[in-house]
């Protein structure tokens, strides 16, 4: 199977990881990984995804030889990993796991400086760098003296990432690092991770069972099948639009058509002007400005605050015309899409809006105008007709 080559990010300093017909068979005959050929390009995030039992974690752990392959070779650039002493190999590979695996008896700072200490680096410099890394992963400096049990799960995971980066390894292995935290923290960690990777350009192999996470984070996604067979290796947009077989199609999910819109920039949508009223204006104004029974309410800086129902049978009941519009009366259901949003975000803004008109804002949150679902759909049809397959954008 041939797939589009994924190039590393600009300025990537990672090594290339190359699986060469790698297998792992256990003595009882179980095949965890079956003749895997895979290249994780320098400076890119390669996500291994698949159902449990597909050998994704086994594949990951064979890279730093936590598990030894029974067949085949794994190369880091032109070095065969089997020829490097394991502890030396591992000190050059960052590793982050699900529950962070921090040393409970060592402070945050001491946890982060573990590998530099093993490598015999200068202690003072290692500590300085650890403090820098803490800032980078969003931990305040006074956390340095705390112990892991004093941190939340999300904070522990940040320490885990900082610890993996402490000796500046060219390669990072991440085994479901964000799956043990709640969805809000997870999204936050994912976004920060992408920003961080944008700066660092490591070669990253990332294991997850969550296809949405794979699509969000991966420069390329390897879908593995039970029995350790590679079903498809492709950039996320291609995975959604051209699944290689029914297994991949089933795994990426039913709403893949909708999710694929997340990879297509909406371009300049034909936004139209929306009559708005200011928060605190008289309710009478709302009835005059309303279109289809709804009027958009903004604050003094033209930032949308919510929709106001302006019909006689409105609930909550309409106030007398002289009374000011208050925040409590607003419907907050609509999502906002930015001017350079993806088609998915623009469509979602329209679908979630109580008035059916999706709100488009500029980068500072000021109202640009509204767009309806049919207008977004027209844009989708248009792009399809033009055969334009954009892989730009993505949530950030």
């Amino acid at each position: 199977m041939v797939s589009a080559p994924v190039s590393g990010r600009k300025g990537g300093r990672g090594l290339v990881i190359r699986f060469e017909s790698v297998s792992k068979k256990y003595p009882d005959g179980t095949v965890a990984v079956d003749r895997l050929d895979l290249v994780a390009p320098s400076g890119a995030i390669t996500v291994l995804v698949g159902p449990s039992g597909c050998g994704k974690t086994t594949s990951l752990r064979m890279i730093n030889r936590m598990i030894e392959p029974t067949d085949g070779r794994i190369w880091l650039d032109d070095r065969d990993t089997a020829t490097v002493p394991t502890h030396q190999l591992r000190r050059g590979i960052g590793y982050v796991i699900q529950h962070a695996g921090l040393f409970p008896h060592r402070t945050v700072l001491d946890n982060i400086t573990t590998v530099p200490e093993l490598l015999g680096h200068d202690r003072k410099r290692a500590r300085r760098r650890a403090l820098e890394l803490m800032e980078r992963v969003g931990l305040p400096p006074h956390f340095a003296k705390r112990y892991p049990a004093q941190l939340s799960g999300g904070q522990q995971q940040r320490v885990g990432v900082a610890r993996a980066l402490a000796a500046d390894p060219p390669v990072m292995l991440m085994d479901e690092p964000f799956s043990a935290v709640d969805p809000v923290v997870r999204a936050q960690l994912q976004n920060e991770f992408l920003n961080l990777q944008g700066e660092l350009g490591k070669t990253i192999v990332f294991v997850t069972h969550d296809i949405d996470e794979a699509i969000k984070l991966g420069d390329q996604v390897a879908v593995l099948q039970v029995g350790g067979r590679l079903a498809q290796l492709a950039p996320p947009a291609e995975l959604l639009s051209e699944p290689a077989d029914t297994f991949v199609a089933g795994f990426v999910g039913r709403d893949r058509g909708y999710r694929a819109l997340g990879f297509a920039g909406a371009g300049r949508l034909p936004v139209r002007q929306e009559q708005v009223i200011a928060l605190g204006a008289a309710s009478g104004e709302a009835r005059d400005a309303a279109e289809g029974g709804w009027v958009l309410v903004t604050d003094a800086a033209q930032r949308p605050q919510g929709w106001l129902r302006a019909e006689a049978d409105a609930d909550p009941p309409p106030s007398t015309p002289a009374e000011p519009v208050t925040e409590a009366q607003l419907n907050l259901g609509g999502t906002l899409a930015s001017e350079n949003a993806t088609l998915r975000e623009a469509l979602d803004a329209a679908l979630s809006s109580p008035s059916g008109r999706g709100v488009i804002v500029d980068d500072s949150g000021r109202l640009l105008g509204t767009v309806t679902a049919s207008e977004v759909l027209a844009r989708i049809e248009q792009q399809r007709a033009a055969g334009e397959r954009s892989t730009q954008g993505g949530e950030s």
């Binding site: 936590m66 190999l89 591992r90 000190r91 796991i97 695996g101 040393f103 093993l118 112990y147």
Partner: protein, 231 residues
Amino acid sequence: MRLLAVDSSPFGMFDYFRQHQDEVLNWLGYHAWLSAVPVVVGLLVALPLGWLAHRYRWAYPPLVTAAGLLYTIPSIALFVSIPSIIGTQILDPINVAVALTVYTVALLVRVVADGLGAVSADVAQAATAMGLTRRQRLLKVELPLAVPVIAAGVRVAVVANVSLVAVAGTIGVPNLGQLFTTGFQLSVGSPYYPPITLGIVLCVLLALAFDLFVVGATWLATPWRRAVSGS
């Protein structure tokens, strides 16, 4: 003839102590020494054995079972048979030290093995993945994290030793146990409590002192646990 406290009730122990201060303090010193040294030696022996049981799965059942069986040997039998094994005099305090070391080892092998094994899988995996050698993992991660578990075992061992030393006293080895023999010998017709009560009270105080010492040392060695309970 000994000086005897007039009061034969348990409260006579204060008078009894004043009258036999030098002798009793001497016994207390021996008693403390005989309780503490075997714990230190026993721990030093149990650490490698426990590590072996932890490291090699096949070694765990025989080592832990053998250690458990040692504990079933009655202490008095051990006290009187050790001289013929190691060639010492019957009342040599060394016999007691050796016997109690055996008990301490019996108690601590399992504790050390389980303590080393109690490190969570995530932590052990992270340690390996970061490139710690087996030895570094043991010394920098597993052993420090096993301290609370091992310390709990040491507390039991040292308190048990205080009472076992007293048993050796009844066969004549100089320590607080002799207070019980004395009390028994003086209970002619009616019970004579002062030396017996004094022996019990001093044994309890000694055990408490050792226990506090171990707790304090553990507290100092495990700052990470304080941080958690204190926050």
